[in-house]
């Protein structure tokens, strides 16, 4: 039995809760293992409606998807507002919706620290990256990183970085989908994984980026709408007084501690503890390292970066991040209210508790039970369907970015030296999509019983330590060279994966080695692996005296001129 369902049994003991859920979200708000529930036909019906709607969109998008450019970037015809919603959709995963609201329910303030970490990368992307990315890139972030460098080595690095990040992120999503479906729909694990894999392939294969984007936009609207309704109902209950909501939650936590046998004073302090930081941050190094992974990882996630190429201009790219930041920030405020609402509506409602006083289905069901409490069975079905749709949409985006890396970077640029025709490139990306889909389903099933809590945070750490430094240095540092970028990038990649393997969350929790045997004591490698990545790029660029290095440095001016003004940038294709 996993730690989340174990923790559900001890839900009354706040301290136990804090330590368990902290381990879980420090590693990425993963959904963990879940018990199968009774089949929920309302939820399945609602999800069926969503699928039907998105299949119509895919049919419409398929008619528009003819060239490689349509497939990778929807022909560059997405507006800033639409793209902002799609980016927000990529970011508001089921794990962040269910995981963060569960974390807030369990320990209040600590859940807030987590959501803040996810948000603060966006302004940095806006200030330093978004417009330059749009001005330099065409289909993938490798277009930007390789702009003035020797194509083959950089592309091979970028494709590796993309595929590794996508693989870990995909596995986490697939396993999450299977667990969630057991919980919400009462279906078998493998059925859920196969459904996600099959639908995702249909979206990407036939509708390319256009379908992937619209699926994401629709899901983002449904999720924002549903979460807004829940937060509204919670606030309504307290007469729109936050003080009343917090006071109610503190009272309930105090009562629960009293019932657990604590003396009055200790119980009051346990109750009040949800209003301040608890054990989320074990040591300052882990805190900063984890913060860096979240902040800079966002700027290195390939499925997020590719969205900057779907808009027609740098101005729209900038508007995209503005909207995305606004929606994501709003969403995290909602999850905070939802988490506190769950304390009041769910934590002491016998309808949602098992014999031992834990939440039915585990702590991650907090938001789902709250949906039932404030909106009845139909709204419960709606929220369950939205949670599943969320995974589907994120998985489609991940697969598309993995397929682009293979077909555009490896096939068209490295193998065919940029001379592949659009039709052949499109064919390769579709074959890759099918392969990635099959691999995702197989890995999803293979990892069912594994503790994969570390995978999302590992994806962020790799993105921050490999993709981000290469992108950042190639765009902003004149003396960066091909050799420096490739060696430094691979150093960042290898060190972030290596340090994660020997950290407690993998070495002890997943590989089963004894407690305390992990060589690397911190929760996230980013502080160290980012430093290794940047230092590697700097050192090997400075030492690089080759002929190629002169060409690389000489190319900076033209690159800078284009990145600043957009003159010469790839434009939207006509439709």
């Amino acid at each position: 039995m996993s730690r989340l369902s174990t923790s559900a049994r001890r839900v009354l003991t706040l301290l136990a809760l804090v330590s368990v859920s902290v381990a879980a979200w420090a590693a990425g708000a993963d959904l963990g293992q879940a018990d199968k529930q009774a089949t929920n036909w309302t939820a399945i019906g609602m999800f069926g409606l969503f699928v039907l709607g998105t299949l119509f969109i895919t049919k419409w998008a398929a008619a528009k998807t003819r060239s490689a450019s349509d497939f990778y970037t929807a022909g560059g015809g997405i507006t800033g507002f639409q793209n902002g919603l799609a980016i927000a959709g990529d970011y508001m995963s089921a794990a962040s919706f269910l995981g963060i609201s569960a974390a807030v329910m369990a320990s209040g303030f600590d859940g807030l620290i987590y959501s803040i970490g996810f948000l603060v990368g966006w302004p940095v992307i806006t200030f330093l990256m978004a417009e330059r990315l749009r001005n330099l890139g065409k289909f993938t972030f490798a277009d930007v990183a390789a702009f003035r460098f020797q194509q083959a080595p950089i592309r091979i690095f970028a494709a590796s970085g993309t595929l590794v990040v996508v693989a870990f992120y995909l596995i986490a999503q697939m396993v999450g989908a299977g667990q969630l479906i057991k919980l919400l729909f009462g279906l078998e694990y493998w059925i859920a994984v196969v459904i996600v894999g099959a639908l995702m392939m249909v979206y990407v294969l036939f509708g390319g980026m256009t379908a992937t984007t619209w699926v994401q936009i629709i899901k983002a609207c449904l999720l924002l709408g549903g979460a807004s309704f829940m937060a509204f109902m919670v606030l309504l209950h307290f007469g729109f007084s936050p003080e009343a909501m917090f006071a109610g939650a503190v009272q309930i936590k105090t009562d629960l501690a009293l019932k657990d046998g604590k003396v009055a004073e200790a119980a009051a302090s346990i109750g009040q503890s949800i209003m301040g930081p608890g054990n989320f941050v074990k040591d300052p190094i882990s805190a900063i390292s984890f913060g860096m992974a979240l902040m800079f990882g966002t700027a290195g996630l390939p499925h997020i970066l590719m969205r900057f190429f779907t808009v027609p201009s740098a101005k729209e790219a900038r508007k995209s991040v503005m909207w995305a930041t606004g929606w994501i920030g709003y969403f995290y405020l909602l999850t905070f209210i939802i988490g506190f609402g769950a304390i009041t509506f769910v934590l002491i409602n016998p309808q949602f508790l098992d014999a031992k006083g834990g939440l039915l289905g585990g702590n991650n069901m907090a938001a789902v039970h709250l949906a039932n409490a404030v909106g009845g069975n139909v709204f419960l079905g709606f929220i369950s369907a939205v949670a599943f749709a969320t995974i589907l949409a994120v998985v489609a985006g991940l697969t598309l970015s993995g397929a682009s890396a293979v077909s555009h970077d490896l096939y068209a640029t490295v193998l065919k030296k940029g001379k592949a025709d659009s039709a052949a490139e499109l064919r390769v990306s579709k074959i890759t999509t099918v392969c990635l889909g099959v691999v995702a389903v197989v890995l999803g099933i293979a990892f069912e019983k594994q503790n994969i809590a570390f995978m999302v945070s590992l994806a962020f750490a790799i993105a921050a330590s490999a993709n981000f430094p290469v992108l950042f240095m190639s765009v902003l540092w004149k003396d960066c060279t091909t050799k420096g970028a490739v060696i430094g990038g691979f150093l960042g990649l290898v060190s972030s994966v290596g340090l994660t393997v020997v950290s407690p969350s993998v070495w002890e929790a997943t590989l089963g080695n004894p407690k305390g045997s992990a060589l690397f004591p911190y929760t996230s490698p980013a502080l160290f692996s980012m430093a290794i990545g940047f230092a590697g790029i700097w050192l090997f660029s400075v030492l690089d005296k080759s002929q190629r290095a002169r060409v690389d440095r000489a190319g900076f001016l033209a690159q800078q001129v284009r990145s600043e003004t957009g003159i010469g940038a790839a434009t939207a294709s006509a439709h």
């Binding site: 302004p123 940095v124 330093l128 900063i288 101005k315 991040v321 001129v561 003159i567």
Partner: protein, 102 residues
């Protein structure tokens, strides 16, 4: 883009102004964001008592409005950049394009 166009843009005064202004503004805002976020994280790491202290007679602590403040700050600082970029920087940028692309 051919070499002469690159040179023409690179020596255009509006371009130089755009580059300098945007990069200075971007870096200052980045710095502000880092100070606010890592300031918050360091408070969480080193001074939990400060964040947990009550603001009044009720249950409200210093930490909750501060945390919400960081979220709001993040959105506002992004808006500040986008507003200036949409007006001043875009004007400079189109001035450059007008001057060099005839």
């Amino acid at each position: 883009m051919d070499e002469s166009l690159v040179q023409r843009i690179a020596s255009n005064p509006a371009y130089l102004q755009l580059k300098a202004k945007r990069s200075r503004f971007g870096w200052w805002l980045t710095l502000a964001m880092m100070v606010v976020y890592y300031g918050f994280i360091l408070l969480v790491a080193f001074d939990k008592a400060f964040l947990s202290q009550l603001t009044g007679d009720g249950v409200m602590t210093v930490g909750i409005p501060l945390g919400f403040g960081v979220i709001v700050f993040t959105i506002v600082i992004t808006a500040v950049y986008v507003r200036r970029a949409n007006t001043e920087f875009d004007e400079l940028s189109s001035a450059v394009a007008k001057a060099v692309l005839k």
